[in-house]
Assembly symmetry: C2
Homo-oligomer: 79 residues x 2
Amino acid sequence: MSSTKSSINQTDPRVVFGRQLAELRRQAGMSQEALALESGLARSYLGSVERGQRNIALLNICRLAAALSLRPSDLLQAL
Amino acid sequence: MSSTKSSINQTDPRVVFGRQLAELRRQAGMSQEALALESGLARSYLGSVERGQRNIALLNICRLAAALSLRPSDLLQAL
């Protein structure tokens, strides 16, 4: 028996990661555009990561952490 | 000017992750075979991750952490 469904599973690691990333980005006072520029990732890709639509891989996790002046493990704290 | 080269860059996040994973696996007293079985990942894939040859993505990081009874962020502590 599964719990109540929604279009995006709120406990999906991709969703939890995306929310955490958006929160850390806001804490750093950065827009999606600024973080995209600083990390070298496309803004559209970053947006889809924050919406929990991407299974982001290690190298991009490291790029985002560096752009936020955080450790890669900080981006996984909510998981 | 780059530092001394080797066939695999020792500071590559994939290499650092792979070594940390292998260390945590050994600390848990698990063989590659046991961790592969517990995580649902192929042993050959797990071997390539530990050798730093894979840009492992979030969902597989979470699967490995769960199989090791660790938090996903624990697997990134060395990064």
